[in-house]
C-alpha cells in the first residue's frame, strides 16, 4: 500500500498562530504557540504533565478563549464560529467519559449527530443508522445495545471514537486516547486512528508515549511550560537529547530493524536504571 500521508502539498486544515493563553493570577499556560496541521496528517503532542497540552486542545475546541493569537480551521477563524459550526469541523475524543445514566453505546454514538440536526430536532432513524454504521466500522456494532458505563475501558474509548466519527469532522482531537488502555487495545486504537487519517482526516493527539509518535505520527510537537521546544517529523525532532530535556529524565532513542520489513528501520525509545542494568545484563 502506498503511503498517502506525509505529503507536504496537502492543504492545511489547521493553523494555530502565536497562541497565548493564561489565567490572570497564574501566568501563562501557553505562550506564542504556532503549529499547522495538514489533511491526512497525524500530529502527536508530547510534553510532561502540566506542559499545556490539554490547554492547547481546549483552546482549539473552543472551551477556552485564548488571550492572543488565532486558530484557523480550513481558513476560518474559530472566534467567529458558533459552537455548532465548530463542532462540524473539529470532533473531540475525551480521555474518558462518565455519565451516571445508563445510556447505550448506540445512544452515546448518536450524540455525534448533534451539530447536523436542525435546531429543536432529535436524531431520526437515519441518524441512528449512521451511528450504527460508524460503530460497525470500528468493529463494535455488537456493543450497540450494551450500557456504555458497563463496557471495558478499551470498548468505551472505541465508542467515543465512533461518536467523533459520527460528527463527520475533518479534524479529530484525541486527549491521551491510550492512557487507560492495555497494550493490545492501544495498538488497535492507533491503527484505526492511522487508517482514519489515511482517508484525509487530520488528527491531533496528546500522548505520554514518544514511541507512538515514531510509529504513527507525521509530526511531533514538543511542548514544555507552555512553549514549543521543537516540532517536525518525529525522526528528526525526537532525539535522545530532546526527549531527555523535555521530560527531565534520561531517555535513549534507538533504531531497530523490523523483522517483517528487512531494510526498514524504525526508531523507538528506551530508558534504563541510572546505575547499570537489570533486564539485559
Amino acid at each position: 500500500m502506498s503511503d498517502p500521508r506525509a505529503c507536504p502539498d496537502q492543504p492545511v486544515s489547521l493553523a494555530i498562530a502565536d497562541l497565548t493563553f493564561g489565567y490572570p493570577a497564574k501566568g501563562h499556560r501557553l505562550q506564542d504557540v504556532s503549529l499547522t496541521l495538514r489533511e491526512a496528517e497525524i500530529c502527536c503532542l508530547l510534553g510532561p504533565n502540566g506542559a499545556g497540552k490539554t490547554t492547547l486542545l481546549r483552546c482549539l475546541l473552543g472551551l477556552l478563549k485564548p488571550e492572543r493569537g488565532t486558530i484557523r480551521i480550513q481558513g476560518q477563524d474559530i472566534k467567529s464560529l458558533a459552537a455548532r459550526d465548530l463542532a462540524r469541523l473539529v470532533a473531540y475524543v475525551p480521555q474518558s467519559a462518565t455519565t451516571p445514566f445508563p445510556f447505550t453505546a448506540l445512544e452515546m454514538a448518536v450524540m455525534g449527530r448533534t451539530p447536523h440536526l436542525r435546531s429543536g430536532a432529535v436524531p431520526s432513524a437515519a441518524d441512528r443508522r449512521i451511528a450504527l454504521g460508524r460503530l460497525d466500522r470500528l468493529g463494535i456494532a455488537a456493543l450497540a445495545d450494551r450500557i456504555f458505563s458497563t463496557l471495558s475501558g478499551g470498548q468505551r474509548q472505541m465508542v467515543l471514537l465512533a461518536r467523533a466519527l459520527v460528527q463527520d469532522a475533518r479534524i479529530l482531537v484525541l486527549d491521551e486516547p491510550t492512557a487507560a488502555l492495555d497494550y493490545g487495545n492501544e495498538v488497535r486504537l492507533l491503527q484505526i486512528v492511522s487508517a482514519l487519517a489515511d482517508e484525509g482526516r487530520s488528527v491531533l493527539m496528546t500522548t505520554h508515549q514518544p514511541a507512538q509518535a515514531f510509529g504513527y505520527a507525521d509530526r511531533a510537537v514538543l511542548l514544555r511550560d507552555g512553549a514549543i521546544l521543537a516540532q517536525g517529523p518525529p525522526d528528526e525532532v525526537l532525539t535522545s537529547e530532546s526527549l531527555t530535556a523535555l521530560y527531565g529524565a534520561t531517555i535513549h532513542v534507538v533504531s531497530v530493524s523490523l523483522p517483517d520489513h528487512p531494510g526498514r528501520v524504525m526508531k523507538t525509545c528506551l530508558s534504563r536504571p541510572d546505575s547499570g542494568w537489570r533486564g539485559a545484563k
Binding site: A83, L86, P94, F101, F103, T104, D136, G139
Partner: protein, 366 residues
C-alpha cells in the same frame, strides 16, 4: 466496502463482523417501532385512572354511575344519578384531579430535567431552595391573613426569590459552576427553612399555626378551576420549553465540555432548564404546598422504563408523575374520614420505593 478498517485485508474478521452487524441491526429496528409504545400505554392508564378517580373519595361512586353521569352531561341528556353524585362527578372532584395531574407532571418533569442537567440522580426540583422559599411566602401570607389569591402570589414570588438567590450565589461565588449552584440552593433552602420555623414560632397556636402547618403538609383540596387556570398555563409553557431543549439536554448528560464540542449552546440550555423548572416548581408549590419525593422518585421510574434519553424521559416522567400523584391523592381522599396530607403520603410511599430502586439500580452510580 471494508467492514472495519482492519478487515479489508482479513477475510476471517470480515465474516465475523458481518455476523455481528446482522445481530446489531435488529435492536435498532425494534427500538424505532417500540419508541412510542410506553407513551401510549401510560396515556391510556392516566385517562382511565382520571375517570375512575371521579368516583373515588369519602363518598364512593361506582364507575358505572360516573360513566353515565359524564355521558349524560356531555350529550346534554336528562340527568341521572342523585344531585349529590352529579355535583361530585361534575364539579367537586374534576378540579382536584386536574390539579393532581398538573402538579405531578410539573414536579416530575422538573426533577427529570434537573437530574439530567446536573448529571446527578439524587437531585430533586427543590434543589434551588424553591420549595422552602415558596413555603415561607405562604407562611407569611397566612400570618398576615391575606386571601387565597394573594397567598399564592406571595408563595410563588418567594419561591422565585429563593431560586434567584441560589443562582446569584452560583454566579458570584462559583463563577457559573453547577456544583456551587447546588450548594447555593442548599444554603438558601436551609435559610428559608429557618424563616418558616420563625413564622411558626410567631404564629397564633390556635389559628394561624395549624393553618401554616397544614399548608406545608401539601394538599390539593384548595384547587378550583378558576384558581388552576394561570398555574396550568405556566406549567404548560414550561413543559413546552423543556420539550424544545430535550435533545441538547440529552447530550449534556454526557458531560458539559463534550456537549459543547458537539455544538450545544451550554448557557442557553442551562438557562431554559433552570427557568422552566424553577417556574413550574414555584407554581405548583404555591398551589398545593410542599409535596416531596415525587420529583426525585418518578424520573427514576421513568428512566427504568424508557431509558435515560431526555427525549423519551420527559413525556414518560410527565405521565408517570401525573398517574402517581393522582393515585396518591385518591388514597389521601379515601383512606380515612379526614383528608390525609399529600406531602406525608408521597414521602411514605416514595422513600421505600426509592430504596427499592436503589437496590435495583444503585450499583450503576458508584
Amino acid at each position: 466496502m471494508p467492514i472495519c478498517v482492519r478487515c479489508s485485508r482479513n477475510e476471517r474478521f470480515r465474516t465475523e463482523h458481518e455476523a455481528r452487524r446482522a445481530r446489531a441491526v435488529d435492536p435498532l429496528t425494534r427500538r424505532v417501532f417500540g419508541e412510542h409504545a410506553p407513551v401510549l400505554v401510560l396515556s391510556a392508564i392516566l385517562l382511565l385512572l382520571g375517570l375512575l378517580s371521579l368516583g373515588i373519595g369519602r363518598y364512593m361512586i361506582d364507575p358505572r354511575t360516573v360513566f353515565h353521569v359524564l355521558i349524560q352531561h356531555l350529550m346534554d341528556l336528562p340527568s341521572v344519578g342523585s344531585p349529590t353524585e352529579q355535583a361530585i362527578v361534575l364539579n367537586i372532584r374534576p378540579p382536584r384531579i386536574f390539579a393532581a395531574i398538573v402538579v405531578g407532571a410539573a414536579l416530575s418533569a422538573s426533577g427529570a430535567a434537573y437530574q439530567t442537567m446536573f448529571r446527578n440522580p439524587l437531585v430533586s426540583p427543590e434543589i434551588l431552595g424553591v420549595a422552602a422559599g415558596a413555603g415561607f411566602g405562604a407562611s407569611i401570607g397566612i400570618l398576615l391573613g391575606v386571601g387565597v389569591g394573594l397567598l399564592e402570589i406571595l408563595s410563588f414570588g418567594c419561591g422565585l426569590l429563593a431560586a434567584l438567590l441560589a443562582l446569584a450565589i452560583g454566579r458570584l461565588v462559583g463563577n457559573g459552576s453547577l456544583s456551587i449552584l447546588v450548594l447555593g440552593g442548599i444554603v438558601i433552602g436551609a435559610m428559608f427553612g429557618a424563616l418558616i420555623a420563625a413564622t411558626q414560632y410567631f404564629a397564633n397556636p390556635e389559628t394561624t399555626l395549624p393553618e401554616i402547618t397544614f399548608w406545608l403538609f401539601g394538599s390539593l383540596g384548595r384547587a378550583t378551576f378558576a384558581s388552576l387556570q394561570v398555574p396550568a398555563l405556566i406549567v404548560a409553557l414550561c413543559l413546552a420549553a423543556l420539550y424544545a431543549v430535550r435533545w441538547p439536554l440529552t447530550v449534556l448528560a454526557a458531560g458539559d465540555d463534550e456537549a459543547r464540542t458537539m455544538g450545544i449552546n451550554l448557557g442557553l440550555t442551562w438557562s431554559v432548564v433552570i427557568a422552566a423548572s424553577t417556574l413550574m416548581t414555584a407554581t405548583v408549590v404555591s398551589l398545593a404546598g410542599i409535596i416531596g419525593w415525587v420529583g426525585l422518585v418518578v424520573p427514576h421510574l421513568a428512566r427504568f422504563i424508557v431509558g435515560p434519553s431526555f427525549t423519551r424521559l420527559l413525556p414518560a416522567s410527565i405521565l408517570i408523575g401525573a398517574i402517581y400523584l393522582l393515585a396518591v391523592d385518591d388514597v389521601a381522599r379515601s383512606a380515612s374520614p379526614l383528608d390525609l396530607p399529600l406531602g406525608i403520603l408521597t414521602a411514605l410511599v416514595g422513600a421505600p420505593f426509592f430504596i427499592l430502586l436503589l437496590m435495583k439500580l444503585g450499583r450503576r452510580w458508584s
